[in-house]
């Protein structure tokens, strides 16, 4: 068994509005003359440290936890997982 870090990124599905990202874009970034920026989407990241045998096993174990406990809301959120050994 080794220790892995699994990063879980939760963001709104495409098409869902994201008032936080919009506010950061319109009321901060674009007011700072960074006109090249076209879009900002906010997200929440959770980092799980978990004992597992492989990266894949760590990722699927965390995915199961997130599904079982509704860590993200499947109606509005999309979630991505990425594991690395630490």
């Amino acid at each position: 068994m080794s220790l892995f870090e699994v990063q879980v990124m939760i963001e709104n599905k495409a098409g869902m509005n994201d008032p936080e990202g919009d506010t950061i874009l319109n009321d901060l970034v674009l007011k700072g003359h960074h006109g090249a920026v076209k879009k900002i989407r906010s997200a929440k990241m959770l980092k799980f440290q978990i004992n597992s045998t492989t990266k894949q096993a760590a990722e699927s174990a965390v995915k199961k936890i997130c599904d079982d406990l509704r860590i993200y809301n499947p109606m509005v959120s999309k979630v991505t997982f990425s594991a690395k050994s630490i």
Partner: protein, 226 residues
């Protein structure tokens, strides 16, 4: 007539609800800690407003895993009245007793203001005394009160007459101006506004009669059941 008020860590409208049920409507009301079992002789249960677990992760999601929720689900399955107000509504959707989700308000602000509800379904235990289209002046107080449901499930809500309250105007970009819904059977109702803050004239500058009718409907329902 026994009604339970569930207290989660971070509930803050539990005492208001207890006061209204017990002192105003003279019901036999009891608090139940979120780790408690609910007794079998309970006639109805209310999940009050507040900030369970400080709204960590998402409003209501951690409380939705509380031990008491399995007993709330049993009561819901038996057809007994279950009411979730504000954070209680958020807990009901996160525990999948009701469909949809409550998202952060578009303004990103905590919204605390008087609103007007329109009754769309008078077949629930909390609306049986209303006429369809009747208006209720009532306050909201929430940061995550924007109801969202995808189109397919919104169509189901409409088809099954599950939309209980709509806002009189678009105050927070809730889908279809939804302020409250019920389950398919109608006995589980969730609403973002706070009826317990609107039943007494001392704290209601508008008209407290309609908010009273929410609780009078419950009393009539429980009474009729016995």
């Amino acid at each position: 007539m026994k009604v339970g008020v569930v207290v989660f860590p971070g509930s803050n409208c539990d005492r208001d609800m207890y006061h209204v049920l017990g002192d105003v409507f003279k019901l036999d009301v009891k608090y139940f800690w979120h780790e408690d079992k609910l007794p079998k002789n309970l006639d109805a249960v209310v999940l009050p407003g507040g900030f369970s677990y400080g709204d960590r992760l998402r409003a209501g999601v951690i409380a939705a895993h509380s031990p008491v929720i399995s007993d709330v689900k049993k009561m819901a399955d038996k057809g007994l009245p279950v009411l979730g107000v504000c954070n209680g509504f958020q807990i009901l959707v996160e525990s999948e007793l009701l469909p949809g989700v409550l998202l952060k308000n578009t303004s990103l602000n905590f919204m605390c203001q008087w609103t007007e509800l329109i009754v769309k379904n008078n077949k629930t235990p909390f609306t049986s005394k209303f006429k369809i289209g009747q208006k209720i002046p009532i306050p909201i107080a929430n940061g995550e009160g924007r109801y969202y449901i995808d189109k397919e499930n919104l169509d189901k809500l409409k088809k099954n007459n599950q939309i209980v309250f709509q806002y009189g105007s678009n105050i927070n970009d809730s889908v279809f101006d939804i302020a409250g819904i019920c389950n398919k059977e109608g006995n589980v109702v969730g609403m973002m506004p706070h009826p317990e803050r609107a039943v007494e004239p001392e704290i209601n500058p508008k008209d407290c009669t309609p908010s009273n009718m929410i609780f009078q409907s419950l009393i009539a329902t429980i009474g009729a059941r016995k």
